[in-house]
């Protein structure tokens, strides 16, 4: 019984396997999205001209030529893929800057927002789920279950607005938007220190829905695990119910939660579009919405590609965490 999964090659091999598996998906995503986006009426030249408020026909032609929009779709696609193969994501027509720069500038804020939201969702969700499972069927469980269902049913953007009304407009405790103080107060350590104030409302708005999912899942999973034979064994060993819960049940119960977390990374980026708009948060979600409106397809493609990779990376992470949580999972 060789314990190969503890071998040193596990992580690289897992990565390689997942990337291999992801390749057709990524290719599919690129092709699908690329041609799909071209169906959108209006192009970047229209957007730029509309932004400018004026144009001439010669100007429009020149603009399209400059943006390469005068070439055939296949040629454009070929050039795009060629660029991609050289890790060139192209230029943003809206910002007239390399797409990669824009992404890099927006990525940290989005990652910060998503990681915070996910951390809140996972941590509080698990605690809430454990509490519900602990009091299954009794009053605390019923109250928390209703609360979880409320979180599950409330639109994130609306709760965002209501939080603004309460905490910014009425109480004046927290800022109503932005990712930091306006101006240079947001620079350096001072900026880092006040960041949580800006982060709190958006990450709560974004995370609440997922929090409820993890709470419900943890509860169901804990209850299911609590009925398992090994729990009886652990109790028969004389362990306290606390130890049984934390040492035995929880780890098993977390397996489905980690799967879900992996699946939600992409969905959360979608949710970020709305929440970042509500809170004026300068992240990728907002950038992608702006990119759609301004037909800045290179930016949009890059974000979709990035999020696809993010989803795949999340899958790798989940597999690693699973491997750590559950020794039964082995490479095949």
């Amino acid at each position: 019984m060789a314990k190969t999964h503890h071998g040193a090659g596990r992580v690289p091999r897992l990565l390689a396997r997942l990337l291999l598996r992801a390749l057709p998906t990524v290719v599919g995503v690129v092709v699908l999205i690329y041609f799909f986006l071209r169906l959108v009426p209006g192009d970047a030249a229209d957007a730029i001209a509309a932004d400018a408020g004026a144009a001439t026909s010669a100007g429009m032609e020149a603009l399209r030529a400059r943006l390469g929009l005068d070439q055939s779709l296949i040629t454009q696609f070929g050039q795009y893929v060629w660029g991609l193969l050289h890790l060139d994501l192209g230029q943003s027509v809206r910002y007239n800057a390399p797409v990669i720069d824009l992404i890099w500038q927006r990525l940290p804020d989005t990652v910060l927002l998503m990681v915070t939201a996910m951390t809140i969702a996972v941590a509080l969700g698990i605690v809430m789920g454990m509490t519900m499972a602990r009091f299954a069927g009794r009053l605390p469980d019923r109250l928390l279950s209703v609360l979880a269902l409320v979180f599950y049913s409330v639109p994130g953007f609306w709760i965002g607005l209501m939080l603004i009304v309460v905490f910014s407009v009425q109480l004046g405790w927290l800022p109503s938007g932005g990712s930091g103080p306006i101006g240079r107060a947001g620079q350096g350590w001072a900026g880092v220190l006040v960041k949580p104030r800006y982060l709190l409302l958006p990450s709560v708005s974004l995370g609440l829905f997922y929090l409820s999912i993890y709470a419900r899942l943890t509860r169901a999973s804990m209850l299911e695990q609590a009925g398992q034979d090994y729990v009886r064994t652990a109790l028969a060993k004389g362990l306290s119910p606390r130890k049984v819960m934390f040492r035995h049940v929880l780890r098993n119960a977390l397996l489905p939660v980690t799967t879900m977390v992996g699946m939600h990374v992409g969905a959360m980026l979608g949710g970020a579009v709305v929440v970042e708009t509500v809170y004026n948060w300068p992240g990728l979600g907002k950038l992608s919405f702006e990119a759609i409106l301004s037909r800045d397809f290179n930016v949009l493609m890059a974000i979709l590609l990035l999020s696809s990779f993010l989803v795949i990376a999340a899958n790798v992470m989940v597999d690693l965490v699973h491997g750590w949580l559950d020794p039964r999972i082995q490479e095949t």
Partner: protein
């Protein structure tokens, strides 16, 4: 019989709507194997769980006492009961495949119980765990400490369960259907192991089973339960030689495999005509509806256990 290790007296286990164990009394002596035999639903597993203090949430002990080592377990605080579980009483379960935590190494699961009761370092506990694995005849015990449950066969896992159960030198080992899920050949090995530990360590064994073959082969004494009540309590030899209760007789004779006193092959209980009655619903003998020799009285008056000999009791007015 020596001074009993476990002394159950008039035990009633109640659910809100049912009373699946009623007026159960028996003793287990040191170094003795007592088998509790009965069909599923007869309350035998509940009895074992009651001893462990692990009854399901809605069940409770409504009457009676469970005396162990001079204390009544029914009156202990949860914290005190924890020290007894796994420390003074060990238990092994029916499903070795699922009774071990799949995400914890074998070693961790054994050291956990050692450190819970005996304290000490993880290092010391690991050494002890290896000894235990050796004791339950698992080859290459040190390496196996780092094995995961899914890497072991069912028989091996049951040995691990046994190692865990006896890790803190309990005076009582409860084995709830320990071999039901195992192959026939493995069954014998596992029971042989339990029996050896009983002999070597002087542990009393409470064997819960529905398998008459096992009872015949391994038990010193037997409690036959039906619908939550003891029907007959006797030495194994005496019971198989001459079952007194009509239910016991039915069990033993209805089995096509009943060949002489110890000639039972391993296997589940044979079918007896009729259904197992609900213990709560009857005022009389619970076996009466299925009893071939029932008297008119049996349906209305519950027969008490009566001594037929020094070590033989039966709850039947008809039995001789």
């Amino acid at each position: 019989m020596n001074a009993p290790v476990l002394d159950i007296e008039g035990l009633d286990i109640a659910f809100p709507m049912a009373r699946p164990v009623q007026n159960l009394s028996f003793q287990v002596g040191a170094g003795e194997t007592l088998a509790v035999v009965g069909e599923s639903g007869s309350g035998k597993s509940l009895t074992a769980l009651a001893v462990m203090g692990l009854l399901p949430p809605r069940a409770r002990i409504a009457a009676g006492s469970i005396r162990f080592g001079g204390r009544d377990l029914t009156g202990l605080k949860p914290r005190e009961m924890q020290d007894i579980r796994g420390g003074e009483i060990g238990m092994i379960f029916q499903e070795p495949m699922t009774s071990l935590n799949p995400v914890m190494t074998i070693g961790r699961q054994i050291t956990e119980v050692i450190r819970q009761h005996d304290g000490g370092t993880e290092e010391a506990a690991r050494g002890r765990a290896a000894e235990l694995l050796d004791l339950v005849r698992i080859p290459d015990p040190v390496a196996k400490l780092d094995a995961w449950p899914h890497e072991l066969s069912g028989g091996m896992r049951q040995r691990v369960m046994i190692a865990m159960a006896v890790a803190c030198r309990p005076s009582l080992l409860i084995a709830d259907e320990p071999t039901t899920a195992l192959d026939v050949t493995i069954q014998a090995q596992v029971l042989d192991l339990i029996d050896g530990l009983r002999r070597d360590l002087g542990i009393a064994v409470l064997l819960i089973t529905h398998d008459l073959g096992l009872v015949a082969q391994w038990a010193d004494r037997v409690v036959v339960m039906y619908a939550g009540r003891p029907m007959e309590i006797a030495g194994a030899e005496a019971l198989f030689a001459r079952p007194r209760h009509p239910y016991s007789q039915g069990l033993i004779s209805a089995s096509p495999r009943a060949q002489g006193d110890r000639g039972f092959r391993d296997g589940p209980l044979p079918e007896i005509p009729g259904n197992v009655g609900s213990a709560a619903s009857l005022v009389g003998c619970s076996f009466a509806p299925r009893c071939p020799v029932a008297l008119p009285d049996c349906a209305t008056r519950r027969p008490a256990l009566r001594q037929l000999g020094a070590a033989h009791a039966v709850a039947c007015p008809v039995a001789k």
